[in-house]
């Protein structure tokens, strides 16, 4: 077959191939979340956990990740084989950390082997001791004058930073907020102190 016909035929085939692949998916779909994380807790209740999850939600949305919840039974070892990391909020995380099988971040306490998200007293203040008094009760006590102030942790920030730590590495310290009668209803504290109102 003469060369010009061969070349023309080859060009037509090439055109068809270009059209076939060139017109596909003209609009790029939304990128799928890249990383999958697991939040491991022993109990899925409480205002602290509610805010923690909200923080993780916002961080995952901004960092193009997703997370799922695992409520751990006693003695259970979670399966993280298909996850890119885990956020652990347990009283005793050591057992889980020993066999977790993926990068992990611990919330609420310091563990030497992994990044931790912990609360810290503002610089210059004396160390703060934990209390079991619920937040709502502390607010009532403050309003009643029983106490003059209390430190509040920021679980939203802890959840947010936990996801950030899994994505970018490194632990964080989240400053405790000093709540007084003057700033109790301040705009910057109201969601922290009244998490269930929204």
């Amino acid at each position: 077959m003469k060369r010009p016909y061969l070349i023309a035929g080859a060009l037509l085939v090439l055109t068809a191939v270009v059209m076939l692949f060139g017109f596909r998916t003209p609009v790029e779909p939304a990128p799928a979340p890249q990383d999958a994380y697991l939040l491991i807790v022993s109990d899925d209740t409480g205002a602290f956990l509610l805010q923690l999850k909200r923080g993780m939600d916002d961080a995952a949305a901004r960092l193009n990740a997703r997370w799922s919840l695992k409520v751990l039974a006693a003695g259970e070892i979670p399966d993280c084989s298909d996850k890119n990391g885990a956020v652990i909020y347990l009283d005793h995380p050591e057992a889980v950390l020993a066999s977790i099988g993926c990068p992990a971040v611990v919330i609420g306490q310091t563990v030497s082997s992994v990044p931790c998200i912990v609360s810290a007293a503002p610089e210059g203040d004396s160390p703060v001791s934990d209390t079991d008094v619920p937040l709502a009760e502390l607010v009532a006590m403050l309003e009643a004058g029983t106490i003059d102030a209390f430190y509040a942790a920021d679980p939203y920030a802890m959840g947010y930073l936990a996801v950030a730590a899994l994505k970018e590495g490194g632990g964080r310290e989240v400053p405790l907020k000093l709540i007084t009668r003057d700033n109790l209803y301040g705009k910057e504290n109201v969601k922290l102190v009244f998490p269930l109102l929204e």
Partner: protein
């Protein structure tokens, strides 16, 4: 003769046409791309921003509508306030409570005097001192506006009442009402639960990553999808561009991504809604268009190239065939026949070329035939010169002269014979000078004169110009021989005179051989040039040779009158200038 042009030089028509076609196609495609692309992408871009603006505008309208609804409820509540002394507290208070119960988003309605003392509240008794009321933003701003407009507060936790704390937006306005027998000014407040407002805002999403947020008239954030992160110091919304622009569309960038900010007011609330859209998301259509256009241009280019190849092949193939056939002709093959295929013009060229080749072949054949004839006539003329009879007679005469002691005459005859043959041969040349031709006939006449003695006389004259001219050889002598053989009247003793002249006139050379012999009849004159006459070469030979060499305009002409004269004129072209 012009020098042959090398076939290797010059651009091939095939590549030239393809280049020209591709240049034309590329120009058109490039022009289309360069003019279409920026215009359409600009349109798409502005359209994308408009669509985004429209999305935010719809959100503003929704919020406006919601705010209108709230204000309607507020105005209704304000109308319920006692305007005269007859108004019963239980009546208007009951209606206010009913209003709160009937509207889910309204959490409380309260009425205060200008000192911050509670007049009535659907949420129960006041849990804070009047000072706290007087310090509240809703109270301060309501009194400032003096009842001309309602104030919409930022979201806050309502802690004035002992009832359950709620996260609300408070609408307030200064109102006049009747209380304790007096017509006083106060502040009416209506708390609206923030969740309803928030859910309205969350539905507005300009683009995949886009969002909207609300600012109050003091540029304080009312609502933001990342407000929690902002409160925790984890996110910062840069309000610089918004504060500079106030209303309309502006742009900024965040974390390396360009953003479009659409700022619109929300009617009566004096809030501003800011829609944030990421340019790389809203302009996906623009990117897709450029991509699709590029694909189309690429496909068009490939198709153009394919069409150009085919078109050029169809056009140049017949031309190439003609060219290669002509190359074969230049190589010496005249038996080529070009196939007459392709376009009309090519067919016409091929047909004309074939006809030309045929004509050339015919002419060449004719030339070969003519050359053969010329050679034949020349050979015959030469043969005449070594005619055995002439040679025998001449040699016989020489012997006879020698025997009779007329050695001197014998020498003259031998010399003339030698010169005769030398000129006749002329080293094989067909063309000699007029001087040589006349010398040839002179030597012939010398011999013949010795033989025929007083039977004839002759004279040879020639102009100087004529002597230098070229002529075919052996054309005068046969005519003179004819004169001697046929013009002499043997019955008479009168001497025949032969006058031979050579002259030029214009571009022609003339030989005239005139005798005053017995002449030739008209019938004989008519046939003299067409038949072999007697045993000699004859006039026909000379005439044919001249015509073969110089064409039909030249040759012999014969004039004669019986018993008077015969004039033979030989006409030749001058070779050496006019």
């Amino acid at each position: 003769m012009p020098e042959p042009v090398s076939a290797k030089k010059g651009v091939r028509l095939h590549y030239l046409l393809i280049s020209m076609l591709l240049a034309a196609f590329s120009t058109v495609l490039l022009f289309t791309f360069l003019t279409l692309s920026p215009r359409v992408t600009g349109l798409l871009s502005s359209n994308a921003v408009e669509r985004t603006k429209e999305t935010v505008l719809q959100g503003v309208k929704s919020l406006d509508l919601y705010a209108d609804g709230l204000l309607t409820s507020f105005n209704y509540a304000a109308d319920l306030l006692p305007k005269d002394a007859d108004a019963e507290d239980s009546a208007w208070q009951g209606r206010l409570s009913f209003l709160v119960a009937s509207r889910l988003e309204i959490s409380a309605v309260a009425l205060f005097d200008t000192q911050g003392n509670l007049i009535y509240s659907t949420a129960g008794s006041l849990d804070q001192p009047a000072q706290a009321v007087r310090d509240s933003a809703f109270f301060v701003n309501a009194l400032e506006r003096q009842g001309t407009a309602s104030y919409f507060s930022t979201p806050h936790v309502q802690n004035l009442f002992g009832a359950k704390k709620t996260y609300v937006v408070s609408i307030s306005r200064a109102e006049w009402f009747f209380s304790d027998g007096q017509y006083i000014e106060g502040v009416m407040m209506m708390d609206v639960e923030y969740t309803f407002l928030r859910s309205l805002i969350e539905k507005i999403t300009p683009g995949r990553s886009g969002y909207v947020y609300l600012l109050d008239e003091f540029d304080e954030l009312i609502s933001h999808p990342y407000e929690r992160a902002i409160d925790s110091g984890l996110f910062h919304e840069d309000l610089t561009a918004v504060q500079q622009k106030t209303l309309g569309i502006t742009e900024d960038s965040r974390e390396g991504r360009e953003r479009v900010l659409i700022i619109l007011t929300v009617g009566k609330t004096r809030w501003r809604m800011v829609g944030v859209a990421y340019i790389d998301e809203i302009k996906t259509l623009e990117s897709a268009f450029v991509r699709i256009l590029s694909v189309i241009m690429l496909c068009a280019s490939l198709l153009s190239f394919a069409c150009a190849m085919l078109a050029v092949h169809l056009v140049t193939r017949p031309i190439t065939l003609v060219a290669s056939s002509m190359q074969r002709v230049t190589g010496g093959d005249l038996n080529v026949t070009i196939p007459a295929r392709g376009f009309r013009e090519i067919r016409s060229v091929a047909s004309a070329f074939n006809m030309m080749l045929s004509r050339i072949r015919s002419l060449m054949d004719q030339i070969v035939v003519e050359q053969e004839k010329k050679r034949l006539y020349e050979l015959n003329a030469l043969q005449a010169q070594i005619n055995p009879h002439f040679l025998y007679n001449t040699l016989d005469s020489i012997i006879w002269m020698e025997e009779r002691g007329r050695g001197r005459e014998a020498i003259i005859m031998v010399s003339a014979l030698a010169r005769l043959f030398r000129i006749a041969i002329s080293k094989g040349k067909s063309v000699i000078t007029v001087a040589e031709e006349l010398a040839h006939v002179r030597n012939y006449l010398i011999i013949q004169k010795m033989r025929f003695k007083d039977q004839f006389s002759y004279a040879i004259t020639a102009s100087d110009e004529a002597m230098k001219e070229d002529t075919l050889k052996l054309i005068v002598q046969p005519i003179v021989e004819n004169c001697i053989n046929h013009a002499i009247d043997r019955t008479q003793s009168e001497e025949l005179h032969i006058q031979i002249d050579a002259c030029t006139e214009g571009d022609r050379l003339f030989f005239t051989i005139r005798d005053d012999g017995i002449g030739i009849s008209d019938e004989q004159v008519a046939t003299l040039l067409t038949r072999e006459a007697g045993s000699g070469i004859g006039l026909k030979n000379v005439h044919e040779r001249i015509m073969l060499t110089y064409g039909g305009d030249y040759g012999l002409t014969i004039q004669s009158a019986e018993d008077s004269f015969t004039l033979v004129t030989v006409t030749l072209p001058r070779a050496k200038g006019n």
